[in-house]
Amino acid sequence: MKGRRILALAAAALFWGVPAEAYYHYDTYYRTNLGFPIQAKFDLTALPNSTVTFYVIDSGPATFYPNDSFGSVLGEVKQALAAWNAVPSSALRISFGGLQAAGQNANTPGGKIVFQNLAPGVLGMGSPQVSAVPTIQGGIYGNFVPIRQSIVILTNNTGQLPGPSWLEGFFTTAVHEIGHALGLQHTWTAAAMSQGVIRNTSRARPIDADDMAGLSVLYGNPNWTANFGTISGHVTYTDFTPVALASVVAIPAVGPAVSTLTNPDGSYTIYGLPPNTYQLYVHPLPPDAVVPGGEGLLLPTDQSGVTISATGTFRTVFYPGTTDPTQASTFVMTAGTNIQGQNFTVQARNGVPAYDLVTYSYLDPVARAYPASPAQGANYLFVTPAYIDSTQNQALVAMQANTGPTVQPQAVTMLGVGPAYYNQMFDNNAYDAIYFSGIAGLGTGPRHLVFQYGAGPSADIFVLPDAVNFVQKGPPSVSSASANGDGTVTINGFGFGPDTRIFFDGLQAPGASNGGSIVVTPPAGVSGQTSAVSAFNSDGQNSVLLQGLNPAQYNYPFTAGSQILAVTPSTLAPGTTGLVDITAGSGQFVTGQVTLGFGTNDVTVNRLWVAGPNHLMANVTVASGAYPGFSEISVISGFQVISAGTWNTVAGAAAAFQGSSPQIAALVNGSAPASTVLQSGGYGVIYGTNVGTGTSSTQVTVNGVPAQVLFAGTTQVNFVVPPGLASGPAAMNLTNTGGSASYVLAIGPPAPSIQSISGPNGSVDPTHFANPGDILTMTVSGLDPTVIGNLSRLQVAVSGLAMPVLQVAPGAGGSFQIQFVDEQSFGGSQVPVTVALDGSAGAGYPIAAR
């Protein structure tokens, strides 16, 4: 079978695939305590703002697919990092820092993304870097092995898989490898960190509950487990010996699975279960997880570096010990539920009946549909993982082992639906055709299959999480991209909805659906650039399924190239924070599309403002222990990758500079200390060191306008923001007897406040879920009514990820209703929704989002 998505995602695995085995985390154990893993992870206390910043080594890929570009690759990398940054239960923040010169030194932990010539068949690689002899470090987050630096290797040639960069597979590969770099190994739940052959992620669902749990176990916020369920127990063989490295999975009928591996003493704990009703099963590591030669799973070691091995294969069973999912126990998990003592006794056996099954569906390229009874001879495309049209009552799924012969199961069950009514081998026994009925009206999203093999004592099962995806229409396709003359482009095609996202190469073009077409604003392009235009829907389908490597294209006009004219200042001393102002010629800077970086993990961009098409302002901090010397300044605007000279971190300047000069640590709204957006005429508070030397000798100006200083202590200065300032970034200058310091402050209107959110099924809140693709309506108060005429002033975000605003309308009692699309999955987690006007955001409104 060959198909578009197979070509994009699975072909390499099918013929060349690198086994994707590993362990959940990179673990070390004390021999005296084999139930408590000590994980390798970043030290949050060593990271600025608890943020690990990844830099791309500036040589970039050497060879590109035709019309592919470095800017597109960087856009994909930035989005992949943003996916991990959007995990609300994790205290670790992940950011994209721009470019870095090869060989750049830094004393702050971070990540590097390099492009190297990978051998054919290798899509990408990721690794944390730790000291050669594991150094177990204690701290407020418990014992761990600190990651000093992480490495992600992506292909040096986007003309080979997983490229070109605009294919979804390039993005999901980047997400996966970054997961390794953060300290995660593989699981078998079809989530981002799953082995490639069974992975079922997309732009719409780049990471899932299993990934979020894995990250949160390493970096969870205090009490993060209180918002999730926890289940624990032991796994032993029938002779009571413990099973080490068994995979225990909690799986609901509808929703994502979450898993863990048993410790060497057989104990397990699954954290991070979104509220749902689960069944529990345990399966052995697949045969390709640990093989001779050290391939695959990086086994845990003891404190002396001696490897701790997995124990042998056993029959997969649902709790409390059945191969029949209808006989399995169910566990109702709510926030804070902690169920203990769920112990498995498993029966050892040699081998497993299946472990690398791949599902396919038939896609009719003319009707853009998944027929349950494909006609003979039709020119179908085969896509994997399979899609099932849940507006029909019946469905056909083809299944095949990724390698070797496909063993036909005796029965196949879809959790929450029931058994297949028929399955048979066909095509020289290469594939198994499985027919389901009774699926009409069962909604959208992934579903799980259970394959049953044999009977009696030899009975065994294989559970394939997220084996199929329910959808209610076929994939989108893009027929044309036409410039409108005003900077926007009209995208025509089929299968669009309010949740459709349009991408120009690897960058999203913001816009809104207009009936059968979508009007978008393309990302800032390079003069004369040709971009592939593709559409992605929240059900996981995209236009590449139908159009493959022949997408619609858009030709950017020929324009003058952007160049950086000035970076002021070009240096800051270690241990200081200050304003850096950047001006450009022929710039096309757009908020949300610009990255500014200083080429070293020792220099942090705390916040960046686009003050105009040619003007950037940023608050920048140089770490107190920064490695001295020059580093590369880069500005990435859309597809434009602009070199901006070098930055100098001055050696030895810290001590003398810090002696008396003011150092600003933060600037907040005096009336709302949680906000960093100030109102003109309101109060501002500066925190830092040596910031005040008394009101008579401390002066504050904002955009050159003197501000009234109310209080000026050593660590805090209170002032009145001058009235009459326009919304946007403003340069604040603080001068006292010790010197001066500059900082960018944000002037904005009062933040709107979210009163409620509703969706297609009523209220959406911490106990009522939103689904990917839902159009949600939030009721807000305190909104400037003039925003109705300029929706670009509004930013709605779910867990920090921007969502498209469809419309704003007046509501009752002076309130307003904002309609937006939840276009991404969050794995059933509780996530905050925020709305910002001109950058001024109020408190987050918690909702549960599948």
């Binding site: 390099v114 190297q116 990721g126 030669g293």
Partner: protein
């Protein structure tokens, strides 16, 4: 198998003679020196690399990367990139272990990742997916594949 043969820049029957580690940019590679027994395609390289290892007091570990011991004997399907680093094709896909004995025609085994399967009806092992062949068969396969590919 055809892709392995065609896309590799060299195929060699060799033993691992020695190893060392070094950084290439920020990435640690373990370099394995080869003692060539028989070149089967292309010019035999002196060594190949596997990402990961210990260098400069630091350790990196990449999922899917195999490790070798001195004296390990394989047929290696290798690919040299434009930076001069030689990799094993598909990491483990391009490795055929050579069994001891067998003279000039030893048995070869590819430790495929998927070697164990159970008959669903009987519960018995039905097939080991490990790929086995004799050296002579591989020589012939390489020769015929390259001839077809050149046509």
């Amino acid at each position: 198998m055809n892709d392995l043969i065609v896309k590799s820049t060299a195929i060699v029957h060799a033993k691992v003679a020695d190893s060392y580690t070094a950084f290439s940019g920020p990435v640690i590679y373990t370099h394995y020196k080869l003692q060539i027994i028989e070149p089967l395609k292309g010019q035999a390289p002196a060594e190949f690399v596997i990402p990961g290892g210990i260098a400069g007091g630091q350790r990196q570990f990449f999922a899917g990367a195999p490790a070798f011991q001195k004296g390990d004997e394989y047929v290696f399907f290798l690919w040299t990139n434009d930076q001069g680093l030689t990799h094993v094709m598909g990491l483990t896909q391009g490795l055929f272990r050579v069994s001891a004995g067998g003279g000039s025609n030893p048995a070869l085994t590819r430790d495929a990742s998927h070697e164990e399967m159970v008959d669903g009806k009987t519960g018995r092992m039905v097939k080991d997916h490990t790929l086995n062949m004799r050296m002579g068969t591989l020589r012939t396969l390489i020769k015929t594949t390259l001839q077809r590919s050149a046509q």
